[in-house]
């Protein structure tokens, strides 16, 4: 059962090609959504005009006592606990959420930190909900299947990065080789290599740290190692690893309640002025507990430090601090979640994420162009299939994302159609547009002629038009054009508009680059007999 000995590089070449072609579309979805999520809170401000409060509220209105606390107690009356996220620079609202008595659905509202007034319903799942779920679970919740698929793609990415190092062995030479005017296949290969090599450390980091977030999904049997005696090892691990403090309700009304702001001040002092959220347990009960959790703005490590206060006396009941290995895991995932406040690093993550998208997309183009003529000659279906999927995954996904923004801007937030509110219509718009791009790509192949599908160009045109249209729709809908956003220092809104305009320009350039007049079916005068992989 043995084959002739082969070098590591020879073995890595088919692995790189085939793991690449199987997982590239999926990886593009994960990389694209992840790149957008670098600016999730900024996208949310853009999608939810009512939440565009001045960022400095995070400093001037950092407390809860007064109108905000009154509103929270009034709104959540009867609930067994309620939760507020304090305003931050990137999300300057007080986010209040609770599960009403006798219900199972959590209600989430934004309050004005100055007045406690409930901000108008935002009518959107926003980036932090919709794109986030797509990023790590593809919205497939059944048996956490989506998180398993994303995990498989993550493992494939690790293999692709390592094998890529060996396949593109002329790494340093390749790095300085970029021929954007060369034939599409050559230019794509250069682009694939440059983005792959230049950002290899980032790609490895972001993939491994992403996997490290899902440790409790992918390895259900590992708990049995250290918890061999426990009947339910996983449960025993969770009880110990994420142990927090609980105090049952007393069943009688509280006499007095202490102010919350002094408790927050104590927590701020303990935690380098960084508070994330406050949860009140058994409100109004004699055993009411105020739980204060450390924030994640001032350190990469997303510490789980928690202080529990007695609500009537203000005494500290318990101070939870994670153990060292758990803290190390929180540092690793902190590199991925990027919750710390650092604008330069945030933009670098965005740029590196986009470069990852380019690397994946260019890799797909290399695969297609290297096989197009042969598959057409032999009547093989591979190129046609992969090309349709690639078009849907790359320009198609960008179109779907833009349609999500467009639906958000075109429909009023209180709108509903046949029982679907706007948040549901945004999602429906996203998935319908995505499906449409797939059908469009499937119908428009030019496989038999050995030609590149015109759907690439058509969808680039659609991206350019949609991105510009979204900026326009935002201007008309909110009266806030780019210059005014800049003038008013609304950087989240201005940033989203600027990136959209950049996207339109880039799509327009790519569309021109794909001009059939420039690249149409060039009978390869100098065939690439041995593309460097595959």
């Amino acid at each position: 059962m043995s084959t002739p000995p082969r070098s590591f590089r020879q073995a890595m070449s088919p692995l790189h090609t085939w793991a690449g072609v199987v997982f590239a579309a999926l990886l593009f979805v994960v990389f694209w959504t992840g790149t957008l999520l670098v600016f999730d809170r900024e996208l949310d401000r853009w999608l939810q005009p009512s939440t565009r409060l001045p960022p400095e509220l995070s400093r001037t209105h950092a407390g809860l006592d007064g109108p905000v606390l009154d509103a929270a107690r009034r709104l959540t009356a009867g609930a067994s606990s309620w939760f507020v996220r304090l305003p931050t620079e990137r999300q300057p609202t007080v986010e209040l959420s609770w599960v009403p008595r006798g219900s199972e659905d959590r209600i989430r509202l934004h309050l004005d930190p100055r007045t406690g007034a409930v901000l108008p319903d935002t009518g959107t799942a926003g980036a932090t909900d919709f794109l986030f779920s797509l990023h790590y679970s593809l919205h497939i919740d059944w048996q956490r299947l989506g998180a398993w698929i994303v995990g498989a793609a993550g493992m494939a990415m690790v293999l692709l990065l390592v094998s890529g190092l060996f396949v593109h062995r002329r790494l340093i030479a390749d790095f300085f080789l970029f021929r954007p005017r060369a034939r599409l296949q050559r230019a794509s290969l250069d682009l694939h290599n440059v983005t792959g090599v230049l950002l290899l450390p980032f790609h490895l980091m972001i993939t491994l740290t992403g996997l490290a977030i899902l440790i409790n999904t992918h390895w259900p049997t590992v708990y049995g190692g250290a918890y061999a005696q426990a009947t339910d090892a996983r449960k025993a691990f969770f009880a110990e690893a994420y142990a927090t403090y609980k105090r049952p309700a007393a069943g009688r009304a509280a006499g007095t309640t202490a102010a919350i702001d002094p408790l927050l001040a104590a927590a701020r002092q303990a935690w380098n002025d960084d508070i994330g959220f406050v949860r009140v347990w058994h409100p109004g009960d004699a055993n009411e507990v105020v739980e204060v959790r450390r924030g994640h703005e001032r350190s990469i490590t997303m510490r789980q430090d928690t202080l529990f206060f007695d609500a009537s006396t203000g005494a500290v009941l318990h101070h939870h601090v994670s153990r060292p290995v758990m803290q190390a895991q929180r540092a690793i995932v902190g590199l991925h979640f990027l919750q710390f406040r650092h604008w330069t690093v945030r933009w670098l993550y965005f740029a590196a994420g986009l470069a990852g998208c380019v690397m994946i997309g260019a890799g797909l183009v290399v695969w297609l162009e290297a096989r197009r003529e042969r598959h057409a000659r032999l009547g093989l279906p591979g190129v046609g299939l992969v090309e349709a999927l690639s078009i849907a995954a790359v320009p198609g996904l960008v179109i779907a994302s833009l349609v999500f923004l467009l639906v958000n801007r075109l429909l009023p937030s209180e709108w509903s159609v046949a029982g679907w509110d706007r948040a549901a219509l945004e999602k429906a718009g996203f998935f319908l547009a995505w499906l449409a791009t797939l059908l469009h790509a499937a119908v428009h192949g030019r496989l038999q002629q050995g030609l590149r599908s015109p759907a690439w160009r058509a969808q680039c045109t659609a991206i350019a038009g949609l991105a510009a249209g979204v900026v326009l729709a935002h201007w008309i809908g909110t009266g806030q054009h780019l210059l005014r956003s800049i003038q008013q220092a609304q950087w989240s809104v201005a940033g989203v508009d600027l990136v959209l305009l950049g996207c339109a320009a880039l799509a327009f350039w790519v569309r021109r680059r794909l001009d059939p007049g420039r690249a149409a079916a060039q009978p390869s005068s100098q065939p690439l007999t041995q593309p460097s992989h595959g």
Binding site: M1, S2, T3, P4, P5, R6, F8, A11, M12, L15, M155, V158, L159, V162, S163, L208, L211, A212, I215, N216, H218, W219, T221, V222, Y223, G224, G225, A226, Y227, A228, Q229, A236, F237, E240, A241, R323, P324, V325, M326, Q329, I332
Partner: protein, 90 residues
């Protein structure tokens, strides 16, 4: 054995066998770390994190090694050995 069957055996051995062995090695390291004095939850977190590295290493090796026989003996015997080692530990 046809080339298609060889490919199927390699994929199954690498992806399925590699996963089984990585999971078993991670469980064993969790048990060993705990036995060495690390609290059980800490040992488990470290083991869960290492599991991905074990798996990545095994996958690379499994796609490189020329012999299918060696691939399958390593994942089968390795998994059994790690499971027995863990049982001996308990």
């Amino acid at each position: 054995v046809t080339p298609a069957a060889r490919l199927g055996l390699r994929l199954l051995g690498a992806i399925g066998g590699g996963y089984a062995l990585a999971a078993q090695l991670a469980a064993l390291s969790g048990g060993l770390l705990h036995a060495a004095g690390l609290p059980a939850s800490e040992a488990t977190t470290l083991a869960l994190l290492s599991a991905y590295l074990f798996y990545a290493g095994l996958l690379l090796w499994a796609f490189w090694t020329p012999s299918l026989g060696r691939l399958w003996s390593v994942v089968l015997l390795g998994t059994v050995a790690a499971a027995l080692g863990l049982r001996g530990l308990a």
